[in-house]
């Protein structure tokens, strides 16, 4: 869909940072699979059924909605996925959330450190 910027950011953030964090934590905790008792069967079944019916319902909703008929996703084309228009919008229309997100990161870091310290 020619969303280049987002693709790169996705890779960097998820595969780079979040996965690494997960691996760190898993190795830190030494999880053994067989020790913990499994969840009860009926709970799992109920979960599956609930989720399945959720999916079915939403698909039905979408299918019976007529406003999506014939709308197409433009592939391989377009300039909005490129970094230039995205950067422009980000720093002109959406600069306030941008700055606030940096504050958010700061607080997350501080929180993580504090929680980890105790």
């Amino acid at each position: 869909m020619n969303a280049q910027f987002l693709a790169i950011v996705n890779i960097i953030v998820y595969a780079g940072a979040i996965m690494v964090l997960f691996l760190f934590v898993m190795m830190l905790m030494n999880v053994k699979k067989d020790k913990e008792p499994q969840k009860q069967l009926w709970v799992k079944l109920t979960g599956v059924i609930a989720g399945g019916s959720f999916l079915t319902l939403l698909i039905a909703l979408v299918k019976q909605n007529t406003s999506f008929q014939g709308r197409d996703v433009l592939l391989k084309d377009g300039s909005i996925g490129l970094i230039h228009p995205l950067g422009q919008a980000l720093f002109t229309d959406f600069v306030v959330p941008f700055e606030i997100s940096s504050v958010l990161f700061l607080s997350a870091m501080v929180g993580a450190v504090i929680i980890g310290k105790k």
Partner: protein
């Protein structure tokens, strides 16, 4: 006139308030003077009212509107006419004599109780006056209920005794059963005519509006009310038990005034009754049956007051017989003479009881002639009067009723004669056992025998004179008189009875009744002046002695099933059903709360599950589009 009438009725009320509220303050003397004084003042005012009616005719006095709605107006009016003024005289006159008597009779009581007694007695006079003076049925009903209440209060005057309280309750409850009939008649009248005033109900136009079924029903219900108040079959068993109260109370309430309320009511409504053959027959039949039944029981009783009580029931039966055959003025005449001699007899009995230190069994009395001379003479006069011996008053009134009965139906007359014979018999049995022969009591009692004080003997003397000459107001034409009483009441009575009998027939009737009474009298005297009755041995004797077992019958047939029913209601319905429902609701809430609480088990997984389920439900309800279901249907069925 308005103020005068108001005074007549307000003085006894003031007496009630004064004595009732101040019973802890004033001495017995003050209370006695005030209480009696109020009633005497009422009596004097009644005399004035009576003279007024004689000179100017009937008066209706309006005070205020008691009930005033769009569809129904009930004014608070008093009506003074010949009938009510006569009753006023009797009530206040005999009432004041009895008040005077009570001041001496109740001397043994302490001051607060003494005051309580006179408060109740004054309240009774007030209610009775209200009953008699009212111009519509509602005021009469107010008085009706008031006398029932006072009867209960006075019968249970010595309240520490449980059986007296039971008797009082019995009286009140039986009264109430009758009152139900009265109320039904009232409601019927209001429904059909929209009014209860005498001047509007008791006219020919109103009668035209009612169908004959209406009139029969209304009069029957009114009679049911009279049955309860005036002790006819089947609601009469309260009256002998009511002898538990003090003797002056029995004299006033159960001889002279309250029990005659029923007769007053029927006489007032005579135009209604004259138009209903069925009710009149029923009244007559019940009247004569009551008269005979009570007379048979009285023959065998041994308590001086019980004999007099059954005699009252019997005489009331005679009065209703008179009403049933249309002899309204005869019934009223008998009411007046009965008030005189029955009050006299009761007060005399009270004097005897007082002298014998509250001994009431006549088998223990005898020979009191020499010890209690005044009581003896007055009692004898009373007995002669009730037996119907001329020229005493009882003869004239009873004969008028019997003559009217003869006209209507010979059987009534024959039965009435039988009753008269029994009346003479048991009264003279009572007289002979009490006053003649030798004294049969203990020595101690003999030593204490003395004549009663003046306050007690004076009323006896006055009443004796009245019993003797009271017949003068109703001497019939056949004997040369001009029947003043019928003339008085002609304004009230719609269809005045005319004497259809020839003079000679009347003479024969009178002679027969006198002869029979005399024979019974002589038999009784000869038998009982020397000896008393042993315990009844024959079956019939036992039957009469035990009051025809009617009390036991009522107990088994009515009281016990009612008690069982009430017990059933309490145990089953009250405890299980109603309490069960209320408690069950509480238990249900508790139970469901316990179950619902388990959802909150703290596990996040569950919470998310419920969230998902909630979203599903929300979507289904929100996008409530049939196409969702159609799609699902096609998906699953394709």
């Amino acid at each position: 006139m308005k103020i005068l009438v108001a005074f007549i009725i307000l003085w006894p009320l003031a007496g009630f308030l004064f004595n009732g509220l101040g019973r802890n303050y004033w001495s017995k003397k003050v209370i006695a003077y005030k209480a009696t004084g109020y009633i005497v003042a009422s009596f004097i005012a009644s005399v004035f009212a009576f003279m007024h009616v004689q000179n100017h005719g009937a008066v209706t006095v309006h005070y205020f509107d008691f009930i005033h709605t769009a569809s129904l107006t009930i004014p608070f009016d008093f009506k003074i006419d010949a009938l009510s003024s006569l009753f006023l005289l009797v009530i206040t006159g005999v009432g004041s004599l009895i008040h005077l008597y009570s001041t001496a009779y109740m001397q043994e009581e302490s001051a607060p109780h003494y005051a309580r007694y006179f408060a109740y007695l004054n309240l009774f006079i007030f209610s009775m006056l209200l009953l008699v003076l009212g111009d519509n049925y509602i005021i009469m009903f107010m008085g009706w209920e008031g006398v029932g209440l006072c009867s209960y209060l006075l019968i249970g005057y010595w309240f520490s005794n449980g059986s007296y309280n039971y008797a009082a309750k019995k009286a009140f409850i039986m009264n109430r059963i009758g009152d139900l009939g009265f109320l039904l008649a009232l409601f019927w009248l209001i429904a059909k005519l929209g009014t209860v005033s005498y001047s509007e109900v008791l006219t020919a136009e109103s009668l035209a509006k009612l169908s004959s079924a209406d009139i029969t029903a209304i009069t029957l219900f009114l009679f049911v009310g009279a049955m309860g108040k005036s002790a006819q079959i089947p609601l009469f068993t309260w009256l002998p038990d009511a002898m538990a109260g003090p003797t002056p109370v029995s004299a006033l309430i159960h001889a002279a005034t309250m029990v005659t309320a029923g007769i007053y009511m029927i006489t007032r409504s005579n135009i209604l009754f004259s138009h209903s053959e069925i009710t009149q027959n029923i009244v007559a039949i019940i009247g004569i049956s009551t008269a005979l039944l009570a007379a048979t029981i009285a023959i065998k009783q041994n308590d001086i007051k019980k004999v007099l009580a059954y005699s009252t029931v019997s005489q009331l039966g005679y009065m209703f017989l008179g009403l049933g055959v249309g002899a309204y003025s005869g019934a009223v005449f008998h009411v007046i003479t009965h008030a005189f001699f029955k009050a006299l007899l009761f007060l005399g009995a009270g004097s005897v009881i007082h002298a014998m230190h509250h001994e009431q069994d006549i088998r223990k009395m005898g020979g009191l002639k020499s010890k209690l001379p005044i009581t003896h003479i007055t009692f004898l006069i009373g007995c002669i009067a009730i037996a119907g011996v001329p020229p005493f008053s009882g003869f004239f009134s009873k004969d008028e009723i019997l003559a009217a009965a003869f006209e209507k139906n010979k059987i009534y007359w024959v039965l009435g004669l039988v009753g008269a014979a029994m009346t003479a018999f048991y009264m003279f049995r009572l007289y002979a056992t009490t006053f003649l022969g030798k004294f049969r009591g203990s020595h101690e009692q003999e030593a204490h025998l003395h004549e009663s004080p003046l306050a007690m003997t004076l009323p006896l003397i006055v009443l004796a004179i009245l019993s003797a000459v009271g017949g003068a107001i109703g001497i019939p034409h056949s004997l040369g008189g001009h029947h003043w009483l019928t003339g008085q009441l002609s304004s009230i009575i719609s269809t005045p009875q005319e004497a259809h009998l020839t003079v000679s027939t009347e003479w024969i009737l009178m002679g027969v009744s006198v002869a029979i009474a005399a024979i019974a009298l002589v038999i009784a005297l000869s038998r009982y002046s020397k000896q008393t009755d042993e315990e009844p041995s024959s079956a019939i004797g036992k039957f009469f002695y035990h009051k025809w077992y009617i009390d036991e019958l009522y107990q088994k047939a009515i009281i016990e099933p009612l008690n069982k029913f009430a017990l059933f209601l309490k145990e089953f319905i009250e405890k299980k059903v109603i309490d069960g429902a209320v408690n069950g609701t509480g238990k249900l809430v508790q139970f469901s709360a316990r179950k619902v609480r388990l959802i909150q088990n703290g596990q996040v997984g569950y919470y998310i599950l419920f969230m998902v389920l909630g979203i599903i439900t929300l979507f289904i309800c929100w996008f409530n589009d049939i196409s969702i279901l159609r799609f699902l249907y096609t998906m699953t069925h394709s």
